[in-house]
Symmetry: C2
Subunit: 318 residues, 2 copies
């Protein structure tokens, strides 16, 4: 019998699960629609069935652990707490429910922490003790590793870099405050920057012909690649703000590398080159040249499952 | 024979050393003048003699470790590197030099990290796994503990919260950049805020009668206690900026407590009450009510020696 773990990524729309062996091979994958399970117990049953089905299709494998990446997850308690994008209200004891069905260690944390663990076990951070992963999607998630361990903090919710305030009194944030890092350094931050530049600059741009509600980071990156001045300036400003949060994080934990993951990173060197320039020019002198800024070493297609599975593999190593 | 360690605090003016037992009793103390030892080897010899003298005065005690708090100290390498306020230039292999004289473990780190270790072993952070110490002097130093260990990072220089940028483009900092936390939240930051308010406000104030070069945080706190409006407003703004850095640090590592140490904390509740109010009102909602903001539990008179000694005791526990 070969050992495998199940990695589960719970999102507002889809729940993806997979069986992953110790080398990071994804042997099987299953998808569930989150909205089809307004009752948590129904989801647990369906997920249990999906895992059993994957195990049946992979005979000769034994399940030894379960890792779950989920929004508002509390690592210490194995719970999902007050997640705004899920139907399961209040405090959901997810690990406990899974343990009632499956007798293996169950680890629960948020998706950015899972991404960091995926990077450490299967990606570009192999062998690193101190690194940070930033996931640049609609918001900005972060997973921080210090001394080889994920930082969960006293509450279990540590590592919310997207909500460090980098511009006091700045842009309104979904968290109810102003000036949070993710309001500048994320896909939605890039869109907001374009809207601001459409007011500040006089340059012609096809971005003026779209309703703001239809603007996406993908469209902006596409226009930048064609030379659109406003799109280029917006990416440059986003890089500057992304770098500001990175140099502050370096000041805190002095990581060996910062890995960037998610949709916005598809802009490639158009974004990464100015991020590296700003970070290197503006970081505190003693940290200069000491932190690499790299794209994630995990391919986006199965990153979520690999990250969640890595949580379980890491726990089993202890 | 009872075990003791030596704690050494190296500053630009004085070098204070002491023998400390496991319970945090300071059995003896010695002082050296930093400027009297332009050659590092002469200092090592003098320090060795001072330690031997203290041991002779405390017969029945055996030295089992040496902890050193020093500016620009690299924990990983046991070195002091490019310290601007010391005569010893370049990279000084301090731990190696001590080990040539004394065959016990030697731990070297910066003074704020030593303060954090003192808080954990002998002060208010006993039993805590996640906490931060901010030392509010001329600048702002920080020691960060995550999962029960000091955060040194890849370079050994982690935990420089005084140099996180909290106001992009803000006040000039001694590090050559702008808007660093310590340019607002420190004794010198408080003085700068008074100078700014003397320009912004029309209120009468005895602070208008002093040359700016003679203004100190102590004078300002004294005037605030007498009801001076500009001094009170300056303390309030300093509290707000101190709280801003604290809520960003909470977002990073979600500590159980943040301890404040150093001269500025003598302002007492005049400073602490608004810091707590601003932090609580402005921290990200999931962290609300979860981090205590406390004055240090170590008395200032022997904090430096206790902190350095705690480094050694902590290492010996491993």
């Amino acid at each position: 019998m070969k050992d495998v773990v199940a990695g589960i990524d719970i999102g507002g729309t889809n729940i993806i699960s997979g069986l992953v062996d110790k080398s990071g091979n994804v042997l099987a994958e299953e998808r569930l629609k989150t909205v089809e399970f307004p009752e948590i117990k129904d989801y647990i049953s369906a997920q249990h069935a999906a895992i059993n089905s994957m195990l049946e299709r992979n005979s000769g494998h034994r399940l030894v652990g379960l890792g779950v990446g989920a929004p508002n997850a509390n690592y210490h308690k194995g719970t999902i707490e007050l997640a705004p994008n899920l139907a399961w209200k209040g405090i959901v004891p997810l690990a406990k429910y899974f343990r009632e069905k499956i007798d293996v260690p169950v680890i629960v944390t948020n998706d950015a922490n899972a991404a960091a663990m995926g990077e450490m076990i299967f990606g570009g951070a192999k062998g690193m003790k101190d690194f940070i992963v930033l996931t640049l999607g609609t918001g900005l998630g972060s997973g921080i590793v210090v001394n080889g361990e994920l930082v969960y903090g006293y509450t279990g919710f540590a590592g919310e870099l997207g909500h460090t305030i980098i511009v006091p009194g700045g842009r309104e944030c979904g968290c109810g405050r102003r000036g949070c890092y993710e309001t500048y350094a994320s896909a939605s931050g890039l869109v907001r920057t374009v809207l601001n530049l459409l007011s500040e600059m006089r340059a012609e741009s096809t971005l003026r012909d779209l309703p703001p509600s239809e603007l996406t980071s993908k469209i902006i990156v596409g226009e930048a690649e064609k030379g659109d001045r406003i799109a280029l300036e917006a990416i440059n400003y986003t890089a500057e703000m992304l770098a500001l949060g990175i140099i502050n994080a370096i000041t805190f934990s002095s990581p060996e590398a910062v890995f960037l993951f998610g949709g916005l990173v598809k802009a490639g060197e158009l974004l990464l080159a100015p991020v590296r320039n700003y970070a290197e020019s503006n970081v505190m002198p003693i940290f200069r040249g000491r932190t690499r800024i790299l794209p994630s070493g995990i391919s986006e297609s199965n990153a979520a499952v690999l990250g969640a599975a890595a949580l379980a593999w890491n726990e089993l190593k202890k």
